[in-house]
């Protein structure tokens, strides 16, 4: 009886699955009711399972329980007759409510429910940052409070963002049809949302490393859902999934036990996840069968170049600079230009890197981005100008968004000071 949960992400996955399925059955205008039913069902499951153990087929148990809960919530709205069709749909779906009707294997239709929900969340009327929050709320079981922490905004602001987005979503005529003509366009929006979600986890502002890891993991899980559904498994989807796997492979070496950051050049490459690298390379290879080279292809190729290099020194920096050039043509952005400049510094030396950094058009858009002054500081330090470097690191420190970034920059400032006090002789770089 007391079997334990299948894995540590069980509730996340189930929450997304149940909300998607109930919303399909009830209609998207009942989104809030579906969410309530799922929330109550999962909360009740925690209490019941704590005492009785997890049932043999927990997913089926939850499906039945959530359906029953939705029926009773509809009835409680006291307009049961008006909702008769919905109740009928819920009860016809898989047996009568109240009877245990385990769905031994979830049919593909249920996987599609999550996909349709994902596509629905990326509606053009919903702003990008709200799309990401919506995906995390509806498909990954994040609370408004957790999202506020993850995106470093106030809880009230996040609640407002979510409720607006949910209102927009439940006001649409229905969930997105996977056969719709604008599938391709919407798929691009889904890619973008998952990309932003992954990046929020990887470079994000949240001070909690565990939260950021969760975001990366969810982005990867949802990308894997896209890969399972043939029409969504385009070369760009493969490239996006490759990019995530290859970047995520570096996570174990990027953040240490104390949550402190280690930059790429100093990472212990033996701690990179070999399994994820292999998976990423495999995905990158299968992404090459199309004719279109997307921005994800280019970013994945950059990540692959790092993954395959035995050390920072032996990295093909020239190749990386070329990939960044191609990326800039496709998606001009000061952040991409910043990364390119760092690669230029590795290829041609710190002075050339500094030139590249200073000639980035629109650096004012990087004004709040701590990595810009941090990169200036790093290169000044390599040019043996520790006083200038310290000034930049201090500027970066003022912009740092979480303790990990602050600790990292404090260490760099300390290094500048060490070099300043040890006189004009530069120390050999480690």
């Amino acid at each position: 009886m007391t079997t334990s949960l299948p894995d540590e992400h069980f509730f996340r996955r189930e929450s997304g699955r149940l909300v998607s399925t109930l919303t399909r059955m009830l209609g998207v205008h009942h989104l809030a009711l579906a969410e309530d039913a799922v929330q109550e069902t999962l909360a009740a499951a925690v209490e019941v399972w704590a005492f009785r153990g997890v049932p043999e087929n927990p997913s089926a148990w939850l499906t039945t329980a959530a359906r029953n809960r939705a029926v009773s919530l509809l009835r409680r709205e006291r307009t049961a007759r008006r909702f008769a069709p919905e109740i009928g749909r819920l009860t016809d779906a898989e047996g009568t409510p109240g009877t245990e009707s385990p769905v031994a294997h979830l049919p593909p239709a249920l996987r599609d429910d999550e996909l349709r929900m994902m596509f629905s969340c990326c509606h053009p009327d919903i702003p990008e940052d709200a799309q990401v929050a919506l995906v995390l709320s509806l498909l990954s079981g994040f609370s408004a409070h957790e999202l506020a922490e993850a995106f470093l905004v106030s809880r009230a602001a996040m609640e407002k963002r979510l409720s607006r987005a949910k209102k927009a979503l439940s006001g649409t005529r229905g969930l997105f049809e996977l056969e719709a003509r604008d599938f391709e366009t919407r798929l691009a929006a889904v890619h973008r949302a998952l990309y932003l979600l992954f990046n929020e986890g990887y470079h994000g502002a949240s001070p909690d490393a565990a939260v950021r890891l969760d975001l990366c993991r969810e982005a990867m899980r949802l990308a894997a859902l896209l890969l399972e559904h043939a029409p969504a498994a385009t070369p760009a989807t493969h490239a996006l999934a490759a990019l995530m796997a290859l970047d995520a492979a570096r996570l174990p070496a990027r953040v240490d036990e104390a949550g402190d950051l280690t930059e790429l050049s100093r990472q212990d490459r033996s701690r990179w996840d070999a399994r994820l690298i292999a998976r990423g390379l495999e995905l990158l290879e299968s992404s090459a069968r199309g004719e279109v080279v997307s921005e994800y292809h280019l970013e994945a190729a950059i990540a692959a170049t790092h993954a395959l290099a035995p050390s920072a020194e032996k990295t093909s920096w020239g190749e990386i600079v070329e990939l960044y050039d191609a990326l800039l043509r496709l998606r001009p952005s000061p952040v991409v230009a910043l990364n390119r400049a760092v690669a230029v510094a590795e290829q041609l030396g710190p002075e050339r890197g500094l030139q590249a950094l200073r000639s980035i058009p629109g650096t004012e858009r990087l004004a709040a981005y701590p990595f810009y002054p941090a990169a200036l500081g790093e290169l000044e330090l390599r040019c043996e100008r520790p006083a200038d470097a310290r000034r930049h690191f201090r500027a970066a420190h003022r912009l740092a968004r979480n303790p990990a970034e602050r600790t990292f920059l404090e260490r760099r400032i300390a290094e500048c000071e060490r070099q300043l006090s040890s006189g004009p002789h530069p120390t050999v770089r480690g």
């Binding site: 007391t2 334990s4 949960l5 540590e8 992400h9 069980f10 509730f11 996340r12 189930e14 929450s15 929330q39 999962l42 909360a43 499951a45 925690v46 209490e47 019941v48 399972w49 704590a50 005492f51 009785r52 153990g53 990954s140 079981g141 994040f142 609370s143 409070h145 957790e146 969760d214």
Partner: protein, 115 residues
């Protein structure tokens, strides 16, 4: 050895309903681990049951005073167990590890009369 009834209570207006997948997962893991620990250490006499919040209070003549949740108590009983311990002090110590304490709840420890 004496036996103690544990009543797991949570304030009725608790803001601590699990509202995210993460804290549901954590809560279940903690409860499961706690019961398992009680069992392996030989404290657990009766695992008990979780309780619905709804119900009724019935008085003489079968008259229902009110339907639950019970307006008179400020908290709801989530469930109960029976634990075996040396004395009240030990029973209290054991209850101190209950996961319900981690989200604003409490454990009422009541010795079961032996005679």
């Amino acid at each position: 050895m004496s036996e103690f009834l544990y009543l797991y209570r949570l304030p009725a207006d608790s803001p601590n309903m699990p509202d995210s997948a993460r804290n549901m997962q954590e809560r279940l893991q903690k409860w499961t681990a706690w019961f398992k620990d009680l069992e392996t250490r030989g404290y657990l006499r009766v695992l008990g049951h979780p309780l619905e919040t709804a119900g009724a209070v019935v008085t003489e003549g079968g008259r229902t005073v009110h339907d639950g949740p019970y307006a008179e108590s400020k908290d709801i009983v989530l469930g109960y167990s029976v634990v075996q311990a040396k004395d009240l002090a030990e029973a209290r110590t054991i209850a101190g590890g209950c996961p319900v304490l981690g989200y604003g709840g409490m454990v009422e420890v009541r010795p079961i009369r032996q005679m």
